[in-house]
């Protein structure tokens, strides 16, 4: 029975990883920017939720739109007025820029919100669905649902709407996209904004199940990175599968091998994927081509 519980835990955790990975993967796949500040942007969402809960007792789930919009606008402005200026530069420059941004955001949050670990505990925390011996905490179930819904809607957005198609077109062939009247600057900004917005939502969901401080930003980015590699860049279904896979892998490896080895195993898997199938499990030669 324990093993079923552990698989369930893995899936619940995995959906969260998927959501943190989707935004990162999209940005990487479309704009070729490895956004090292992704985790820090997620934490902005977490602090928004924390403060609305602390000061006005607003339910964390209700603050999802707020953190989405706030980080969306932040991401849009950032890409439109900062990143776009150097997006054609070498990958190293972009890495330095996003790394600098990460340091700035982490220090900003440390200054304003302190380095203390925070956690949000609404009254209904700890209630669980019981299926025989299997326990499924309602909060984790809700987080799972929201993550899956957001990942799927993101996929629909990319496939069905004009802007979504424009994002895919830009990613596929930037020159051809420009010829059809798409402005890459705006599309890049939109992509980065969506990525940041999804990260912001992740931050909100994070407050419900974990404790956080500005210092965990790097760990979140790392998870997003692994999910993107596993799933294949820029692919929504890839991120979803990569996330779930990572979640199940973490929980089951910590059960069978030992909790202390779970990070090593996640990295190991990433390296194997990079060697065997560098485009990721779901990757086709589609989004992640080198464009420069």
């Amino acid at each position: 029975m324990t093993i079923v519980q552990i698989l369930v835990n893995g899936l619940l955790l995995g959906a969260f990883y998927a959501l943190i990975g989707v935004g990162f993967s999209l940005v990487w796949g479309v704009t070729n920017i490895l956004n090292l500040a992704h985790g820090a942007i997620a934490l902005l969402g977490a602090y928004i939720t924390f403060y609305m809960f602390q000061n006005w007792h607003i339910d964390p789930f209700l603050t999802i739109p707020v953190s989405f919009i706030a980080t969306f606008l932040f991401g849009y402005a950032l890409q439109r007025y900062v990143m776009n200026r150097i997006v054609k530069a070498q990958i190293l420059m972009l890495l330095i820029l996003t790394f600098g941004l990460e340091i700035f955001l982490v220090n900003f949050m440390t200054t304003f919100f302190s380095a203390d670990f925070r956690s949000v505990t609404p009254v209904y925390a700890g209630n669980s669905l019981m299926l025989g011996d299997i326990v499924i905490p309602y909060i984790r179930l809700a987080v799972f649902g929201i993550c899956v819904i957001l990942c799927v809607s993101m996929g629909i957005f990319l496939d069905k709407t004009w802007r979504g198609k424009a994002i895919k077109a830009t990613s596929l062939d930037i020159e051809a996209a420009m010829m059809t009247g798409i402005s890459p600057a705006k599309i890049y900004a939109l992509t980065f904004a969506l990525g940041s917005g999804l990260a912001g939502v992740c931050g909100t969901l994070l407050t419900l199940t974990q404790s956080f401080s500005p210092n965990i930003a790097g760990g979140l980015t790392l998870r997003a990175f692994i999910v993107s590699i596993l799933g294949g860049l820029g692919r929504i279904e890839g991120a979803l599968i990569g996330g779930l896979l990572l979640g199940v892998l973490e929980t089951s490896s910590s059960y069978f091998i030992g909790e202390s080895y779970k990070n090593a195993i996640a990295f190991g898997l990433m390296v194997i994927v990079l060697i065997v199938k560098p485009s990721g499990l779901m990757g086709r030669k589609y989004y992640a081509e080198v464009k420069h």
Binding site: T2, Q5, I6, N9, L12, L13, D116, F117, R118, S119, T121, A125, G126, S128, M130, V135, P137, I139, R140, T209, Q210, S211, S213, I216, G219, E250, T251, S252, S254, Y255, G258, E259, S260, K262, N263
Partner: protein
């Protein structure tokens, strides 16, 4: 006129030297007043200064009927143990001070005590809990913090004879040096007290998810869960224990419940969780300098306008113990006699009853156990100096 001015200036310059020669005892300390340990370092300094002020108000340290005023020379080590070591060297060799009060933090004590050992100076420290400090064969270092491997002894001792009697213990710990030592000690102590350790596992430092560990613990149905880790881990363990309906008779942590943030973060879920503390404000110990622990707390609040914590109390206690040893030795200069007095020390202080073993490590002081009751940390053990009775077994999660 010119000559008079010269003489006047000379007098001014000589004044400090002349005072220095008066009836005084000088102590030295290199503390983290800036840098990453500045917060704790300054708390220890507050403790030292309160001790100095209190002793001097009472006329100073009395040696064979004669009173000596206490002075402390404090340098800032900038939270760098190497700098701390250099400063202690300066204290001993240039300032000629052989009575050294300890810095804060195991690394700093490790580095500076090597210097005091080398020059035959004495150090009494109330700021470090690592076991390794006492395994180097030093004879000039005395520490009053209960060491890491003894952290959970009192919690286990307290729970031993409760009703219904707990039989099994699950121990989880973060895989850093300090937490691993706490866990190791807890395991040995649990087995010695007749518990069965049914789960013993580490997890990576800074982990964000412990659901697998919690599920595994649940399968073992332990009576007691001991968590040896850091503040954020305690939050995750409590949250997930509630999520997965793990209901042991007691949950105890080495670090976490003593911090005010613990209750802020967990709200009602923090109720009845146990924690180990080096010292608490409410312990009813007597003290030869302050009168009692309560009197110390009052004096501290009056001087600094805030509650003392175990860092400050550790600083003050180090001073008190040094003072009592000097008074008993009947000398301020003979290091051998003072050391002997420290080895034979057996007195109740505001920090508890202090005795040292041959390595200079405090023995039998114990860790007071606190329990969150109605949103505040209450001392529940040792029973004779506790505020409230412990609530056991812990009620199930609501």
């Amino acid at each position: 006129m010119f000559r008079k001015t010269i003489i006047f200036i000379l007098c001014l310059l000589l004044a400090p030297v002349l005072t220095y020669a008066a009836d005084e005892i000088w102590f030295g300390a290199a503390l983290s007043l800036t840098g990453k340990l500045a917060k704790e370092g300054n708390l220890v300094k507050n403790g030292y200064e309160l001790w100095k002020e209190t002793v001097n108000k009472k006329g100073g340290i009395k040696i064979n009927g004669k009173a000596y005023i206490v002075n402390i020379k404090i340098y800032d080590d900038e939270s760098d143990p190497n700098r701390g070591a250099k400063l202690v060297e300066k204290l001993v060799t240039e300032d000629k001070i052989k009575l050294i009060l300890g810095p804060y933090g195991s690394e700093s004590v490790f580095a500076t005590s090597a210097i005091t050992e080398k020059y035959g100076a004495l150090m009494v420290q109330g700021g470090a809990a690592a076991d390794k400090l006492y395994s180097r064969g030093f004879k000039n270092l005395f520490g009053i913090y209960t060491v890491a491997t003894d952290y959970m002894n009192d919690t286990l001792e307290m729970l031993k004879n409760k009703n219904p009697k707990p039989q099994t213990v699950a121990i989880v710990y973060s895989n850093d040096l300090f937490s691993a030592q706490v866990a190791q000690g807890a395991k040995v102590s649990a087995e010695k007290l007749g518990y069965k350790v049914v789960f013993y596992q580490d997890y990576p430092k800074g982990t964000q998810d412990l659901s697998t560990v919690i599920v595994q613990i649940k399968a073992k149905k332990p009576d007691i869960i001991l968590g040896c880790g850091h503040f954020q881990d305690t939050i995750i363990i409590i949250k997930q224990a509630k999520d997965y309906k793990v209901n042991p008779k007691a949950i105890a942590f080495s670090v976490g419940p003593t911090l005010p943030d613990f209750v802020d973060s967990l709200k009602a879920d923090s109720e009845y969780v146990l924690g180990s503390a080096q010292w608490t404000q409410t312990l009813k110990y007597k003290d030869q300098v302050f009168g009692s622990n309560q009197a110390f707390v009052k004096a501290y609040k009056a001087k600094y306008n805030e509650d003392p914590n175990y860092h400050s109390a550790g600083g003050t206690s180090a001073g008190v113990i040094f003072q009592r040893a000097i008074e008993k030795a009947g000398t301020k200069d003979d290091i051998d006699k003072i050391r002997e007095a420290l080895y034979n020390f057996n007195e109740e202080t505001l920090y508890g009853r202090i005795k040292f073993d041959k390595t200079g490590k405090v023995i039998g002081k114990g860790m007071p156990v606190i329990q969150i009751q109605k949103g505040t940390q209450k001392t529940v053990y040792p029973e004779d100096v506790a505020e409230l009775k412990v609530v056991y077994p812990k009620p199930q999660w609501k």
